[in-house]
Symmetry: C2
Subunit: 664 residues, 2 copies
């Protein structure tokens, strides 16, 4: 955590000073906003937390509920999500209050006495060491609390407006190409949203808000989705579940372990222990619901669900003492036919204004514990892109990558979940072999952990032509952190954990083997980045901001920290920041001899450059010599920024020496 560099911070450093819109934010939702987020669930709140870091952007959130969510339904938190929480600054706190999954028990009918269940395999939850973060269970309400805290403490001070629901939405000129930006003024707030008050003295009254962009995070019955004419596509039949959060006394020995339980008559339970040491969630399978049978299935009583659970876990019993929440719900497998408001035929002529995230674009079973996690990555993906466009860092074309990237992820999720749900609902004797279910679970672990997402090449993901230089940083997949040493104080550190959800790109220069003081490919690259006319650092950093405000450039040496003198490190890795021009000491890393990052991540000893997006996905792997490729990558992703000594022609890339020194 870095602070004090703008002057002494007496209180909690997690509370950032309000600036820009955060200083003048109106108490009431105004008539015009930059971004309107509809819904304060996981997708909406991570987007709010991300956009709150940008005090130049007027971000507002509307939520139908009258206040904070008291009890959410989702509870599964993949390691990928905890990694995300780390970037937002609350991983350690939520982990401390969560239940941690380290293994899963598979129970099935006793072959000798099939009316009884017996324990089968108990495989570990993450056999592959795919993340340094744990797999957690914690109520969605607490996840939202933490994101709300980040949003409220960000410089833009974003807090949700409760008690407002969307009843209509139109996008001006949606059916045609927009007027040319250099001609007649295009409508700057083309999205008109009609809202209705759901509570309070104005209950039932309507008002409109005009927005530059709208993020529809309003759930499975999304009004935003309806308004832009997008449709969920998928199964006709739904699957029904009786689900209950219970405080109970039981002799079932694995009640504090995540369990898949299959009984001899086909009944099955997914048992998820919950945070706090006592509560557990029981998902009791009620089977497929044929069309028209919905009402009957939904009438299943709590007592019936409890009785069914007792039958399934025979010879054990479940004596329920308290049920804080229960429900019977149905869910199908559906993906919306597009995640923004631009129909395929107009994709070449206009960029999107409205985006769908979370349950608004994908619904599926709870069995794989995926929903909240995928929704959060939706929200983060669109939020940093909106911030880039609204702050002038990137062209509007960036926004089209949202649907392109996330729709594929959603389809993969639905395919995985359909298969997993089908297997769990199959009577054991109908499976190919007795360990088929647990084998599938172990084999496919990377998916539910959240690490299978791999974005395809685009304006923000380079072709992986140099992948062999860093085989452990797959282009398009999330940057997998590894241990290093920080040179300035010799502290052990995790390289990726320094990257916060601040909308910046990370450029990691892995050094060649030369001693830091000697001539090297790294020194040449650093010199070029600091001063060459084509340097992306100079081209894309706005004048008057810190030199690392857009690209956060770090170095990792092959030596350990005693082998690197700070004075020998090129200046570009120790920029001067803040009003006092202080040296940032946290960008220079060395190799931890006990956990050699070059070995662990397959990094070429000749060095490599790894570019990582603001949402932690690897955008490019390049050799230190590929300067034109690095410049070209950023020229495709970002806009050039005017420099003080430049002419008024915005697209010049000439930099003079004075600029260079300022940014070195």
């Amino acid at each position: 955590m870095q602070f004090h560099h703008h002057g002494y911070v007496s209180g909690d450093p997690r509370v950032q000073p309000a600036t820009g819109y955060g200083l003048k934010r109106p108490a009431e939702l105004p008539d015009e906003v930059d971004v309107l987020i509809v819904g304060s669930g996981p997708a909406g709140m991570i987007a709010a937390a991300q956009l709150a870091q940008f005090p130049g952007i007027r971000t507002h959130v509307v939520e139908r509920r009258a206040g904070r969510l008291e009890m959410g339904q989702a509870d599964g938190i993949q390691a990928r999500s905890v990694e995300t929480f780390q970037a937002f600054g609350f991983a350690e706190r939520i982990t401390a209050e969560a239940y941690r999954i380290t293994e899963m028990a598979f129970w099935k009918p006793d072959p000798e006495r099939p009316e009884n269940i017996v324990r089968g395999a108990v495989p570990p939850d993450d056999t592959t060491g795919i993340s340094e973060f744990p797999h957690l269970i914690v109520n969605q309400a607490r996840v939202l609390d933490y994101f709300a805290e980040v949003a409220a403490r960000g410089p833009a001070r974003v807090t949700p407006d409760y008690g407002l629901e969307v009843v209509g939405l139109t996008v001006a000129g949606a059916a045609e190409a927009p007027e040319a930006a250099d001609g007649a003024q295009a409508d700057e707030h083309p999205v008109t949203v009609t809202l209705r008050h759901t509570t309070g003295p104005r209950e039932g009254t309507e008002r409109t808000v005009r927005a530059r962009y709208v993020v529809g995070s309003d759930g499975a019955h999304s009004a935003v989705r309806e308004a832009i004419g997008r449709k969920p596509v998928g199964d006709k039949a739904n699957h029904a579940w009786g689900v209950m959060d219970v405080l109970a006394v039981t002799d079932f020995p694995d009640v504090r372990t995540k369990c898949a339980i299959q009984s001899h008559d086909g009944g099955s339970i997914l048992l998820i222990p919950r945070e706090g040491g006592y509560l557990a969630r029981w998902y009791v399978d009620l089977g497929e619901v044929p069309p028209g049978e919905s009402a009957r299935v939904r009438a299943t009583s709590l007592d019936e669900v409890i009785a069914r659970a007792n039958r399934i876990i025979h010879p054990y019993t479940l004596d329920v003492k308290d049920v804080p929440w229960h429900s019977v719900y149905e869910v199908g497998h559906r993906v919306t036919d597009g995640f923004d408001d631009v129909p395929a035929e107009l994709a070449d002529v206009r960029t999107p204004r409205v985006f769908l995230t979370g349950d608004a674009c994908h619904t599926h079973s709870a069995k794989a514990g995926q929903g909240m996690n995928v929704s959060m990555q939706d929200g983060w993906n669109i939020a940093w892109k909106l911030a880039h466009v609204l702050t002038g860092r990137a062209p509007e074309a960036l926004l089209a990558t949202y649907s392109a990237e996330r729709q594929v992820v959603a389809q993969n999720l639905i395919d995985f979940d359909r298969e997993w749900s089908r297997l769990m609902a199959t009577p054991p004797e109908d499976l190919p072999d007795p360990t088929y279910l647990e084998d599938f679970y172990v084999k496919t672990q990377e998916f539910p952990c959240g690490f299978m997402t791999q974005y395809q090449p685009s304006m923000i993901v380079a072709e992986p032509v140099h992948q062999e230089l860093a085989t452990g940083f797959s282009v398009g997949k999330r940057f997998k952190s590894a241990p290093v040493e920080r040179v300035a104080e010799g502290n052990p550190a995790h390289l990726g954990h320094h990257a916060r959800a601040d909308g910046r790109w990370r450029v990691y220069a892995f050094a060649d083997a030369a001693a830091p003081a000697e001539p090297s490919a790294l020194r040449d690259w650093a010199e070029w980045l600091a001063s060459a006319p084509g340097s992306p650092l100079l081209r894309h950093t706005p004048a008057g901001t810190d030199p690392d405000s857009v690209l956060d450039v770090k170095v990792v040496y092959q030596q350990d920290h005693f082998g690197v003198e700070f004075a020998d490190v090129p200046d570009v890795f120790r920029p001067r920041v803040g009003p006092f021009g202080l040296i940032d000491y946290e960008k220079v890393y060395a190799t931890d001899p006990d956990h050699d990052i070059f070995e662990l991540r397959g990094i070429d000893r000749g060095g490599a450059v790894v570019v990582v997006r603001p949402d932690q996905y690897v955008a490019a792997v390049l050799p230190l010599s590929a300067r034109d490729e690095l410049s070209a990558f950023f020229a495709g992703a970002l806009l050039p920024q005017p420099r003080p000594q430049e002419t008024t022609q915005q697209d010049t890339t000439q930099q003079d020496e004075t600029n260079t020194e300022e940014n070195a």
Copy 2:
């Protein structure tokens, strides 16, 4: 973290429901309180945080300042203190915002060119792996914030009353033996404290408060100390320091590493990098101050301190950009001649009512980073003892152990600090050999880490006659946690981290080698503890409370978690708690095969019982067979509690079978 067992908790589980005095706590300081804590520094606030867990106790804190401390002077946090923060629930949060010390650099004159300093040894900060917690630097103000949060969130909802200073204090009957408790009513609030408002409309006006007990945590110039006639004893001459927190640009390469810097002319600096990555604290030695010279030394200007620092670090330079805080201060080495209000000659006839903690009873240099740490242990020590006495768990005699235990610690601290200060102030050429300073530092590391404290046998520390059964748990020293597995879900856990600062004693039963389902010494012991008439669990647990409300009894098996079936574990280790009588699943542990606690802590394979005090110090190590010894230990430390079926004679120790079963 365990919660939900009294019903679903929607919000932050760290916020406990208000109960008892927490529900009716007056907004203004009342005329009568149980405990009055004077001063809201580290000693006072840890005491407040501890006492806030007891809603039957009326605890109040008065503080001279008008509000929260904005910037404290102390900043060194030993591993022992982080361990303590863990028990209070905020270790992970404060660690995330702190600077972490992993090594220390020793700089000294270049033998070739003595006007220049050069780097000498850079020993690691904890070579011995003495703790799983880090050594941190973080401002005292933040430590106080966290304790204040714990105090405010405890069931008694303790918050400081600001703007009140002590001007007088008297203890009724202090000079004589109290009236017999069974005769005329003794004064229940014998301490009368006169307070003066320091701010606000009542500034300058006085009022009195009557208290059962007073904790004087009011600093080096303690008015409480003065009132009870205690005197600081020690050096006549003081040592002066110029100290400054600076934001600076420097080419001194180790500015982010803790450094001891000695220059050729004897000038020395202790450099402490601070949290946030930019700030550093420079202690610049100004030498001994002979009596009468104080005013002259105190007039040393900031510019002079900066100039002196620049001379010492030559050939490097320090370009100071901002100085959030600086001071010239003097400190001697003094220990107060007793830490409570009972003179030696009355020790046999009365128990103390007033206690001194922190700087009120020990002052010394800042060089070893000890002050705040020792003060916090003072505060914790007296607070749990007061809670024990005020809730009727323990006899008043317990309170005499406070001064007995902490005065020794303070004297050791002063002795260590005097030696360390002397060495740092000695010109390098006058030391016995060139590495004498760093060798002393490495050799004595356990002391500044906070782990040398070893309490002597008393009513709460048993004679270490069975120490060989658990050589790694030294009787009288703090319980050194070790990794284990929790049986119920197979989670990796750290055994000691489950123990929170809730005033409970921990009784760890380390099992003998038998399989859990087989007859064993452990099973026999568990059966005895659950049901025998002499069982301390039955004798000291008040009726109507959870069976683990006073003694938190846990088991650690020698098998790994797959080798322990929860159903085979004796009931005493899986008590039924809360209004629903739910099973507590977090008291049953297994051995982590990769970190065998029996090996790591030298525990006899025949089993052992380790008793740990509420402040984490080991009170006893016993064989599983030593039941009478265990009973006798607790009979000496705690009072018997009335049981429902008992007669009204309070001091009966007979328990009947009905009682026994209820508590099993």
